[in-house]
Subunit: 198 residues, 2 copies
Amino acid sequence: MKNLKSIDRLTEAFSKLPGVGHKSAEKMAYSILEMNDNNVYELSDALKDVKESVHHCKECGAYCENDICEVCSNPDRDKTRIIVVSYPRDIFPFEKLGTYNGVYHVLGGVLSAVNGVGVEDLRINELIEKVNRDSVKELIIATNPTTEGETTALYIAKILENMPVNVTRIAYGLPMGGHLEYTDSLTLLKSLEGRKKI
Amino acid sequence: MKNLKSIDRLTEAFSKLPGVGHKSAEKMAYSILEMNDNNVYELSDALKDVKESVHHCKECGAYCENDICEVCSNPDRDKTRIIVVSYPRDIFPFEKLGTYNGVYHVLGGVLSAVNGVGVEDLRINELIEKVNRDSVKELIIATNPTTEGETTALYIAKILENMPVNVTRIAYGLPMGGHLEYTDSLTLLKSLEGRKKI
């Protein structure tokens, strides 16, 4: 007895989800058979709905369902301070803090020779325009602490060095609750370099 | 910044999948945003397709895309030997063996006072009819080794005791590759009871 065609098709489709291997995808596909019809149709429709109704904010590039996202359209947010991130999802951890009152700018990736991502592929010109237009005082670069994230951060700092904007980088160091014993030496080195008077 | 409505809806829908909690569901929902459009539409359609094209085999109750499943419609399968299982998915492990040449019968559950599942809720009458019609020689009861699975197995054995069919139960014991040290005492007891001359 071979797998049913429609199950194979669904397994294949589930396995495209990040972190879902063939085995889990097959398990999910079979579980669909035993789920309530309404729940399955709801999932099917919700998937299409997300693709159809979620766009990028025209201002900052974040995910939103309107032209302009909730942050950019909020008159209480400080437009002169911008956190620069690589991807839309990187905004959420900052918003969860609930203490940041500035806005964001999504680059749409990181500079990467390996993956062929150049300056023209990122939303860097839009960032420069925004810095000029809104007399931005501080740009906080929050790309990931990887080689490519670093390169991107340095590139942005470089092209803005003659403009009246303060370009900063989020700090590196030991994660809170972490243990010295288990910390890799690069993180420890960064943590030493970034030491502050207490 | 709150979650987008369509993301909330998709998260809710994903969390109905068995074994998917709210956190994983949210992660999946966001990953959909970054997936290729075609893959998302394919998943959405494949979900609907499974619900629309997979039915229960009219003969044995297994999943199939036609009226009669591959096993029941195969003239080479021995119709006089039936493995009785609770759920359609329980057929797969037997088919994977590749050595069983009989057919199956899906009960559609187990007798359960707690869940209000009585004899009339299971496909037991169909089983009795089949035993008569096809002069079945052996029924191998393969309900799970749980209290409810046991009750169901005993009930079927009881109502068929005066018919010319050999009703057997799959064996209990140590799983192959298992360790005595880690075996629960009930399994060990069953393993002792089921001992065979070597």
